[in-house]
């Protein structure tokens, strides 16, 4: 817990406000965009839970990292941007597909779910390869940054497909 206590004690109001503000702004804008394109709150539930999952995974991996002989500095905040970016873009492709084809005659939810699963798995495979191939040149905190980014974004993307299946199927 040391790292979180240190952050709580030593971070300035400026850091809390600006980092919290930027994440909150992205969260709200994603929800707004999702609602405007789908007009269905079920999609908002999915994207909100996905963000929550990625935040929890990020916190958990940082918690684990403090027990390893790796220095943790401000560089460890970069997975926040990377994860938010990857998760939001993956979600954007899904929502854009839905918005474009929902009014098509033979459009079905099964097709939507298949498309999302295929896209998500492709993105995860690609992300795995991209991070693996560049991680060969890294060590220490930077390697940890890549590892945290990979875990939090890949798991969140995969879980979002399961959540979509659960919420949209229902």
């Amino acid at each position: 817990m040391n790292i979180f206590i240190n952050i709580y004690r030593n971070w300035t109001v400026y850091e809390w406000c600006f980092l919290g503000g930027s994440l909150l702004l992205i969260f709200l804008l994603s929800n707004l965009g999702t609602y405007l394109l789908t007009k269905d709150w079920k999609f908002n539930k999915i994207v909100s839970i996905t963000y929550a999952i990625s935040a929890l995974i990020y916190i958990f991996t940082i918690f684990v990292l403090q027990f390893l002989p790796i220095p943790i500095s401000h560089l460890s905040t970069t997975p926040l941007l990377l994860t938010v970016l990857i998760v939001t873009i993956n979600w954007t492709t899904f929502i854009s597909y839905y918005a474009k084809f929902k009014n098509r005659k033979n459009f079905t939810i099964t097709e939507l779910l298949k498309e999302q699963k295929r896209d998500s798995i492709r993105n995860i495979v690609f992300l795995t390869l991209a991070i693996l191939s560049t991680s060969i040149f890294l060590k220490g905190e930077l390697l940890a940054v890549m590892f945290v980014t990979f875990l939090s974004s890949a798991i969140s993307i995969y879980l979002s497909t399961l959540l979509t299946r659960k919420f949209i199927d229902d």
Partner: protein
């Protein structure tokens, strides 16, 4: 004499312009790759295309002795100090409160002098007026115009100024210098105007942490504080004047150098490794049959092109960059280009979303998040452009080859 008749030439202009476009695109793309590759700057003496690598980190710890033990004042001081360093683009800043002291730990590539200027002084400023009994022209006391005790305080301090707008204006010697134009909150405008009228064509002073800069008021419409001519220092002064007010005074008690533990990498190896990695990724995707061969070819080409365009922009604009950030940028760019390429229906929305996230982090981000945010703006535009240009080029080439 018989007239020579030439057969009327039929030119297919559409095809002609297509050829011209194809030639232009080919040469543009080739040039982009050439400039992006490492060491190709040695091919020509006309322009240097080196990457502006900013990897010379230094680290230092500063102990500040605060003149107050009020918790709210200390919290505000911490925040303003952090904001100043963050606005300047200092990579790592940690500020620890230890009783009535602040320990500021900095790790940066920015010039040390300027970073120290942001930390050393609280930069509390106010407008002061000359005491009548002091002779400011006394040749035996040449320091008189600069000493705080020779001036009277006025109502106008940091609390009444909205901001200090820094701009270049003509100076008395006919050249141009930087000045800070004082902008006030609306409630104090009337009083300040009366003050300027009262001291028109007289000297007043700006007291900054106990040292006074004399300011001559030529007319009653503007209060312009003379600043430095050095552009680098002007950025620092802009931050010091406009990044919030430190409520308490403090002094630098101690400073010591710290060891830097940054991973140093050779950018030439990184660039080559990135190109090799991309090819390896696509070879894997091809043999695993995850995508169609056509899509893989397009995606590979656009990914390499996007990386080349990114490096080209960095080299031509000489933007300072850390080598390890190039790796993070490359991962983002590879993933982003691949997603933009493969999702035709969401090409624009993905690019716009990436741009929005980039803008948010480049404005509100802290430390590396701010740096990555500003890079992401370039990356999202690069990914979109390279996909559009790459697809256009592949279509044109395949049409040409089919003929």
């Amino acid at each position: 004499m018989a007239r020579i008749r030439f057969k009327k030439l039929k030119v297919n202009w559409k095809q002609f312009f297509n050829y011209v476009l194809l030639i232009l695109l080919s040469s543009g793309i080739l040039l982009t790759f050439l400039i992006a590759l490492p060491l190709t700057e040695r091919l020509s003496d006309i322009q240097a295309f080196d990457l502006n690598i900013a990897d010379e980190f230094w680290s230092k710890e500063y102990i500040l002795d605060l003149k107050s033990e009020e918790n709210s004042d200390i919290r505000k001081t911490k925040s303003v100090l952090f904001k100043r360093l963050n606005d300047y683009g200092v990579e790592e800043v940690s500020i620890y409160q230890e009783d009535s002291q602040l320990r500021v730990v900095v790790e940066a590539t920015k010039p040390q002098d300027y970073v120290e200027e942001l930390i050393r002084n609280p930069y509390r400023y106010s407008i002061v007026t000359r005491k009548e009994e002091i002779d400011f022209e006394d040749e035996e006391n040449q320091l008189a115009p600069y000493l705080e005790e020779n001036y009277d305080e006025t109502l106008f301090d940091t609390k009444v100024f909205r901001n200090i707008y820094i701009t270049e204006l003509p100076n008395s010697s006919g050249g141009k210098s930087y000045f800070g134009i004082a902008k006030l909150w609306p409630g104090k405008l009337g009083e300040f105007k009366s003050f300027l009228q009262e001291y028109k064509e007289k000297y007043v002073g700006v007291n900054i942490d106990g040292f006074v800069t004399p300011v001559y008021i030529p007319d009653d419409t503007i209060f312009a504080i003379p600043l430095s001519d050095d552009k680098g220092r002007i950025e620092i002064m802009d931050i010091l004047y406009n990044s919030g007010n430190i409520p308490i005074s403090y002094e630098l008690k101690e400073q010591k150098d710290l060891e830097v533990k940054r991973l140093s990498m050779d950018y030439i190896q990184i660039t080559i490794a990135l190109f090799v990695s991309i090819i390896a990724i696509y070879l894997y995707l091809y043999f695993s049959k995850t995508y169609s061969a056509d899509l893989i070819l397009r995606s590979l080409f656009t990914t390499l092109l996007s990386l080349a365009i990114f490096l080209l922009v960095l080299k031509i604009r000489a933007l300072p960059i850390h080598t390890f950030i190039i790796l993070i940028d490359a991962v983002i760019l590879i993933a982003l280009t691949n997603i933009v390429q493969q999702n035709d229906e969401s090409r624009i929305s993905v690019s716009v979303v990436a741009l929005i996230i980039a803008t948010i982090f480049s404005i509100l981000g802290i430390g590396y998040l701010k740096i990555l945010g500003s890079h992401l703006m370039l990356l999202s535009a690069t990914a979109f452009l390279s996909v559009e240009i790459g697809n256009l080029y592949i279509d044109k080439v395949s049409n040409y080859l089919k003929k």
